[in-house]
C-alpha cells in the first residue's frame, strides 16, 4: 500500500509540475489590435444537417476574410445560450451569432447587457419589434430554393409517370415536416407549387414529427409516407432520418440543408439550402467598416444565399439542371412569383387579401396585409417566413404539432 501511495505521489507531482509549466507558456500571447472576432453558437454539432450548413458557412466566411472565430456547439435553447453568448462577448467577440430559433430570447438578453457587441440571430422574428441597435435577425428567401427543388421533383414525377411506374393521378409527394410552423409551411408549400408547376396532377401529404431533430421520428414519418403510396419524399427536419429511409426503400428524395448524396447515392435528387456565407461576410464587413447591420436581413438568390446543390444525375430526371436554371432566371427576373395567388387556392378560392402575424405575440394577432399585386409577399415584412396558409392539394396527416 505504501509503495502504491508513493508511486501515486510521484505521478501527482509530475502532473502538477506539468500544469504549472503549461500555465507559464500560455500567459504571454501577443496583444493584437482590436479586430473583428466572431463567436458562433450552434444548437447541435456537425451531425445535424442544419447546423453543419451553418458551421461550413461560418468557417468559410471567417477564413476567407481572415478573422478570428470561436465555435460553440450543442448549446441548448435555454439559459445556456445566454451564458454562451455572454461568454463569447467576454472573450472579446464583437459579433455573436446564434443559429437556432429558440436561442432568440437569450440572445436578446445578452444583447441588452453588451451594447457594444453585435448579436445576430438566424430564423428569429423579434429584431424588428425589439428596437435594439445591436440585435439583428437574418433569414433567406428559401421558399425560392424550395420552389426550384420542387421543379426537380416535378420532373422526376413526370419521368416516372412516363415510364409507366404509376398513373398521373397517383403522383403523390410525401413531406416530413417538423412543426406546423410558418417556416415549415412556407417550405412545403413552395416546394409543392414548384412540383405542381411541372406535374399538374401532383398532390402532397405532410407528416409532422414535433421535433426539429429526431432521427427515429423522421425515419418513421418517411416510411409511413412511403407506405401510404408517396412516390417521392422531401423533408424539413434536420437529421438524416428521411433521406436514409428513402435510400432503403428506393424512393427518390429531394433533400434540404445540403447534399445527402454520399449517404444516399441512388435516391438523392437535389437539395436546396441557405448559404450563410454571404450573410457572415456581410456582418463582418459591417463591423469592420463601422456600419450598422440590417435589423432584418433577407438573403436571396441574387445575394448567393439561396442555392441548390449539384443535381445527382443518377437519380434525377433528364434535363433537370437546365429546367432549374430556366425557372431560376424567371424568379430572378420577377416573371415567376412563387406564391402567385392565381396558382393556388385555399378552400377552393383564390385569395386577394391576407393578414399575417408578422409581429410575433402570444395571441398570434394578425397584423400585416401580405398579399399585393397578385402574390403573397413572403420574407418581405420580416426575414423569417410567415406564410401559414393551408392550400388545397396538400393533406396534413397529423396536425398535433
Amino acid at each position: 500500500m505504501k509503495k502504491f501511495l508513493k508511486v501515486m505521489a510521484v505521478v501527482l507531482v509530475i502532473a502538477m509540475l506539468g500544469a504549472f509549466a503549461a500555465c507559464g507558456n500560455n500567459g504571454d500571447e501577443p496583444a493584437e489590435k482590436a479586430k473583428v472576432k466572431v463567436g458562433f453558437i450552434f444548437l447541435h454539432d456537425e451531425n445535424s444537417t442544419y447546423d453543419l450548413n451553418f458551421l461550413n458557412g461560418a468557417k468559410a466566411a471567417c477564413e476567407k476574410l481572415g478573422v478570428e472565430y470561436v465555435l460553440k456547439t450543442n448549446i441548448d435553447e435555454s439559459n445556456d445560450c445566454y451564458e454562451a453568448a455572454a461568454d463569447l462577448a467576454d472573450q472579446g467577440c464583437n459579433i455573436v451569432f446564434a443559429d437556432s430559433f429558440g436561442h432568440e430570447d437569450f440572445m436578446i438578453q445578452a444583447a441588452k447587457e453588451y451594447p457594444d457587441v453585435q448579436f445576430c440571430h438566424a430564423t428569429g422574428t423579434k429584431a424588428h419589434t425589439e428596437n435594439l441597435a445591436n440585435y439583428h435577425n437574418a433569414f433567406a428567401s428559401i421558399y425560392e430554393g424550395r420552389y426550384l427543388a420542387g421543379v426537380a421533383a416535378g420532373l422526376k414525377l413526370n419521368e416516372m409517370i412516363e415510364a409507366g411506374k404509376f398513373k398521373a393521378e397517383e403522383a403523390k409527394i410525401g413531406y416530413v415536416g417538423a412543426f406546423t410552423y410558418a417556416e415549415v409551411i412556407s417550405g412545403y408549400t413552395s416546394f409543392f407549387l414548384g412540383a405542381r408547376s411541372i406535374c399538374p396532377t401532383a398532390t402532397m401529404e405532410v407528416q409532422f414529427t414535433g421535433s426539429w431533430y429526431d432521427e427515429t421520428a423522421e425515419k418513421e414519418a418517411a416510411t409511413l409516407l412511403i407506405n401510404n403510396g408517396c412516390k417521392l419524399i422531401s423533408q424539413h427536419a434536420d437529421s438524416m432520418g428521411a433521406p436514409t429511409a428513402c435510400e432503403t426503400a428506393g424512393i427518390p428524395d429531394v433533400s434540404y440543408n445540403g447534399s445527402t448524396e454520399s449517404q444516399c447515392p441512388n435516391t438523392f435528387i437535389v437539395s436546396s439550402r441557405i448559404n450563410w456565407e454571404p450573410y457572415f461576410e456581410y456582418i463582418i464587413g459591417c463591423v469592420n467598416d463601422g456600419k450598422a447591420i440590417d435589423t432584418d436581413w433577407t438573403g436571396t438568390i441574387a445575394t448567393g444565399s439561396v442555392v441548390l446543390t449539384d443535381v445527382n444525375e443518377k437519380a434525377a430526371a433528364e434535363g433537370t439542371q437546365a429546367k432549374i436554371d430556366e425557372v431560376k432566371a424567371g424568379i430572378e427576373a420577377g416573371t415567376i412569383k412563387v406564391f402567385d395567388t392565381s396558382k393556388f387556392t385555399v378552400k377552393g378560392e383564390n385569395l386577394t387579401s391576407y393578414q399575417a402575424d408578422v409581429d410575433s405575440d402570444a395571441d398570434y394577432t394578425p397584423d400585416t396585409e401580405v398579399i399585393k399585386d397578385g402574390a403573397f409577399l413572403e420574407s418581405n415584412f420580416r426575414s423569417a417566413p410567415y406564410f401559414d396558409l393551408r392550400i388545397d392539394g396538400i393533406t396534413l396527416l397529423n396536425e398535433k404539432y
Binding site: M1, L5, A22, E46, T73, D105
Partner: protein, 366 residues
Amino acid sequence: MSNVKNKEPLVHIVKRDTLSTLQSWLIRIASVAVALVFCAVIIVLLTGINPLDVYVTMIRGAVGSSRRVWSLLQNVAMLLCVSLAVTPAFRMKFWNIGAEGQVLIGGLATTAVMILFGSKLPTAALIPIIFIASMIAGAIWAVIPAVFKAIWNTNETLFTLMMNYIAIQIVSYFAYVWSVPKGSGAIGVINGTTHAGWLPDLLGQKYLINVLIVAALTVFIYIYLKYSKHGYEISVVGESENTAKYIGINVKKVIIRTMLVSGALCGVAGVLLVSGTDHTLTKDTAAGRGFTAIIVSWLAKFNPLYMVLTSLLIVFLQKGAIEIASKFELNDSFSDIITGIIIFFIIGSEFFINYKLKFNKKEENA
C-alpha cells in the same frame, strides 16, 4: 490428504480492512491523477494536441472568469438539487431513475403557473404557488411508481424510466401549445418584460438564490437522512425489508413517503430551472441531470455532503469539456470520452478502496 498441488492464480482479490478516510481519499485523488495521465495518452494518440494545453483549457473553461465561476456554481447547484432528490430513495434501494421526468413535470407546473397566472397575481403570491404546485406535480409523478412498487411489487427501475418518456412527450405537447410564434414549438422566455414568477436576483447575482436554496436543501437532507426517524426507517428498509417488517416498520408506507419526498425535491429542481434560470421550458430543460444525478449520488455513497464534491467534479468536467470542444474544434463527443475515462477511474478507485490485490508468492503448497 491429497498430494495434488493446488494451482493458485497469480493474483487474487482480498477484501480490505476499512481504510482511514485519509487513505481512501488519497486513493481517489490518485485515481484522478492516473486518469489524467491516461487521457493525456489518448489525447496525443487521437488528436496530436498537447494534453497540458487541453487540461489548462479545461480549467479555464470551468473557472476562467467570474461569469464562468457563477455558471459553474449554478450548474453544480442544479445537479446537486436533483442528486439530493434521488438520494433518499437510493438509500432505500429503490432505484428511481425517473428524476429527469419528475424534474420536467415540476418545471411544467412552474411554467403553467407563470403563463396562466403571471399577469393576474402579484409576485409575492406567485412564487409560493409555483413552489407548491411544482412540488406536488413532482411528487405525483414520483409516487405513481412507488405505489405500484409498494402494492404490486412492480419493477421500479423500468417504471420510473418509462415515466421519463411520458413526461418528455407531455412537455413537448405543451411547448407546442404555448409556443410563440404559433407552431414554432418554442415557448420562449416567459413574462420577459414583467418578470412575473421569476425568482429574484440577490445582491445583483442571478444565480445566488438558486445556490442558497440548494445549500439549505443539502443540510436539510443530510439531517433528514442521518438524524430523523424517517431517515432511520429508510436505512433499515434499504438494508433488509424483512428486518424492517420485524421491527414494525410499515415498509409500504416508507416507500411511498420517501418517493413523495424525492418527487417533491425534483419539483423544486424544476422551479429552480424554470423560474430561477431558464424562464422557459423545453423537453431538454432537465438536460440529463436526472441521470447524471445517479452517478453523483452513487459516487458520494449517498452522503449529501460528499455529493457537493461529486457534483462539483462532474460539472467541472462538463464545463471544461465544452471549452475543449470549442477551443480545439473537437466534437463534443471527444470531451465526453475524456469525462467518461475520468469517471471510470474514479468509480474504479472504489474497488481498490474496498479490496486489495494479493500477489501470490511462488511457493510450493505443502
